[in-house]
């Protein structure tokens, strides 16, 4: 017994909060914010617990794997939970200014269930349980995307729903194969039992394909730009920052524990698709005339960077994984800040056409600052979390002579600089068409700025975060089973 069950609190609290918000819609905003705060505190509690006692494992029902379901938290889970809590707080504060009273009452219960799903996902140690959390997360995300009811949002949500359902079914088929082939659905036990049989390859093929579709890795990224661009700004932030990272987290976990040790060479495919994602995403981002679509394509590109770690880690091991985790964390904060800033601009000017951004720096300095700071992290400039992540990845690539990967990373960085400065350039100038500005609430501006500052702050926290990541040895070369 290691004291308070922080992990369980992280799951049950948002579930309860969501249900109470559903029962009494009037208290939604206040209860929602309190729940977000409580979740952040609980993550801190979990972090303290992990540092004192090592990894956290809870056998639900007292049965224990393989008969029962286990919850498991190590350093990697902790950091994903932490970034979820932080982005959640930021988006929660933002939404108090963004949504009307009615929309707010519909937003909070669904967002709290999404938060519960994310927490449950990062704490899961059972592949079927992961399927249920994936579905909970997917349906909540779709419901939030379509919240405004506009034509674009409905289309984006429909495409997103079909893609996410296809991904889940492929994943479930893989679960079926693994269970029937190896007799358990617990990740730790599967890590011990799975050998290089055709059943295992087929399962990984299916699960990998499903999860890559959900993470929008090129070429299965087609659903992401319309969905993320047409959703309300706080929802876009949640989608790009957290939801796509969740399916990536599952893929990473499965790779580190079960499938990576099989050594079939798939990491080269991941690397290749990652490189193409960086190029395609960045080039498309450059072509966009609307800000939210530009930011969405930037997400497609940044996800590509995450997949570069797979081939690099084969030889450099932990440092490539550390770099990737850092990139994931910084991108979550920076991308959320960017979407929130875009929401501010949309509210202010009534449009998000990049060319018509009208003297934003003078009139919305906090928002422009937020966008600029977030851009620093996305481009990988020092000092920021993005810089540390990309620097370490580049170092790993050069050390092993992966010149192709290093070149693509540099090109990607240049393209990112190009599209960020394209936007920033327009924020300084006066547009041809002026219009009546609409006031932007302070909560919206500050939420965006604080998240962006968080991304930059990550640039100074590398050492403590890397030591946290190593709790539980998720990244050790042989993939110690959780």
């Amino acid at each position: 017994m290691t004291g308070t069950p922080w992990g369980i609190i992280l799951i049950m609290l948002p579930l309860a909060g969501g249900m109470i918000c559903f029962l009494w819609p009037r208290v939604s905003t206040v209860l929602g914010l309190l729940t977000s705060l409580a979740v952040a505190v609980s993550v801190a509690g979990l972090g303290w617990q992990l540092q004192e006692y090592g990894v956290y494992r809870h056998a639900i029902g007292g049965w224990g794997a393989p008969l029962g379901i286990d919850l498991y938290a190590d350093g990697l889970s902790l950091l994903m939970l932490a970034v979820t809590a932080l982005v959640g707080l930021g988006v929660g504060i933002y939404s108090t200014g963004y949504f009307s009273c009615e929309d707010s009452q519909r937003f909070w219960p669904i967002w709290l269930f999404l938060l519960a799903a994310l927490n449950a996902l990062f704490l899961a140690a059972d592949i079927f349980n992961l399927y249920v959390t994936l579905e909970l997360m997917g349906l909540a995300a779709v419901a939030l995307t379509s919240l405004t009811g506009s034509k674009d949002a409905l289309r984006g949500a429909m495409r997103y729903l079909l893609a996410t359902l296809l991904g889940s079914l492929a994943y479930l088929f893989g679960v079926a194969l693994l269970y029937h082939g190896f007799g358990t659905v617990d990740i730790g036990m599967l890590a011990e039992r799975v050998e290089s049989y055709p059943i295992a390859w087929a399962a990984f093929g299916l699960m990998g394909a499903g999860l890559m579709l959900k993470t929008a890795l090129f070429p299965m990224h087609f659903w992401l730009p319309p969905a993320h661009a047409s959703a309300p700004a706080p929802v876009s932030a949640l989608l790009s920052a957290l939801v796509v990272k969740a399916s990536f987290y599952i893929l990473l976990r499965l790779w580190l524990t079960i499938f990576g040790p099989l050594n079939e060479g798939i990491e080269l495919l991941f690397g290749l698709l990652g490189m193409m994602a960086i190029l395609w995403g960045s080039l498309q981002a450059l072509r966009q005339t609307r800000l939210k679509l530009l930011i969405a394509y930037s997400t497609v590109a940044q996800i590509g960077y995450l997949f570069l770690a797979f081939p690099l880690a084969m030889t450099t091991g932990a440092s490539a994984w550390h770099a990737m985790a850092y990139l994931a964390l910084s991108h979550a904060l920076a991308k959320a800040a960017m979407f929130l800033a875009a929401g501010n601009l949309l509210r202010f000017g009534g449009h998000d056409r990049i060319a018509d951004l009208d003297r934003v720096v003078q009139r919305l300095p906090l928002t422009a600052g937020a966008f600029a700071l977030a851009g620093v992290s996305i481009m990988g400039l020092p000092p920021s979390g993005g810089f540390i992540g990309k620097w370490l990845l580049l170092e790993a690539a050069l050390a092993q002579g992966h010149w192709g990967i290093a070149a693509i990373m540099l090109v990607g960085g240049l393209l990112a600089a190009a599209y960020i400065f394209k936007v920033l350039g327009h924020t300084f100038t006066q547009a041809d068409i002026s219009h009546e500005p609409v006031a932007v609430p302070a909560s919206m501006e500050w939420a965006a700025l604080l998240l962006a500052m968080g991304a930059v702050l990550l640039g100074f926290l590398a050492s403590p975060i890397f030591s946290l990541l190593d709790i539980g040895n998720a990244f050790s070369l042989n993939g110690v089973s959780p």
Binding site: A16, L23, I60, G68, A143, G183, P198
Partner: protein
């Protein structure tokens, strides 16, 4: 005004050309062939977890192995799944719901049939709920039959009274997942593990959870069929 969605054959929009059909069919056939080969490579006898389930069945509080897995050994999945169902309804309502169908008086066949069937459906649902402890049955099966009764009721033109459509309806919808979460937290505090039932009361607690879940499932599925948000105030 009803939203009519006719399944037209795709004559009006661009139809997939035969070349495209073949281009898609070939990789799909390859995947199918691969998976079929995988199916045949499974060993003919593999007990999976059935041995462990049988061993622990006596301690689970029920004698039907599927119910034991669903409500006891893997009860956490069931908890999340009741939330998924509620979330679908939340999503539908967040969209604004569909147009509420007009209340119509039913024709003679529907009228008499519903009077016969509804009590029977409710009885069958109650029976399925109770028998789930030792034979195929349980909360989901009972909830589905209850939902069938609800759908039949809606088809006759009945609508929930406006006074009941706000908080009371929402309380029933939340009853299932709410009972699960409450039970999970209580068992955590008392027994030390989430959803660990005290051994002598396991059967009773499972029945309580299943009852709450049956009501929730029945009402949620009926709500999903209705599509629109029930009117909770008189329009005047």
């Amino acid at each position: 005004m009803h939203d009519r969605v006719a399944i037209q054959t795709d004559h009006t929009r661009k139809q997939a050309t035969p070349l495209l059909r073949i281009l898609i069919a070939l990789p799909v056939l390859a995947v199918a062939a691969g998976l079929a080969y995988i199916m045949l490579s499974f060993s003919p006898v593999a007990p999976g977890l059935s041995g462990q389930v049988t061993d622990q069945l006596a301690h689970s509080g029920v004698s039907n192995p599927v119910t034991a897995v669903l409500l006891n050994f893997r009860g956490y999945d069931t908890l999340l799944e009741t939330v998924v169902l509620l979330l679908a309804l939340l999503g539908v309502w967040a969209l604004g719901g569909t147009e509420l169908r007009d209340e119509v008086t039913p024709g003679p066949v529907l009228d008499s049939l519903s009077r016969l069937l509804l009590p029977m459906l409710i009885l069958v649902a109650a029976y399925l709920l109770w028998v789930g402890a030792h034979a195929p049955g349980g909360a989901f099966q009972a909830g589905s039959v209850l939902a069938a009764a609800g759908v039949l009721l809606l088809l006759t033109g009945w609508r929930l009274h406006v006074n009941l459509a706000a908080l009371p309806l929402r309380m029933i919808l939340v009853a299932g997942p709410g009972a699960f979460v409450l039970m999970a937290v209580l068992t955590l505090l008392i027994e030390g593990h989430l959803l660990q039932y005290p051994a002598e009361h396991a059967g009773l607690l499972i029945l309580i959870l299943e009852t709450a879940a049956t009501f929730s499932i029945g009402f949620t599925l009926t709500g999903l069929f209705l599509g629109g948000i029930p009117r909770d105030r008189d329009i005047e």
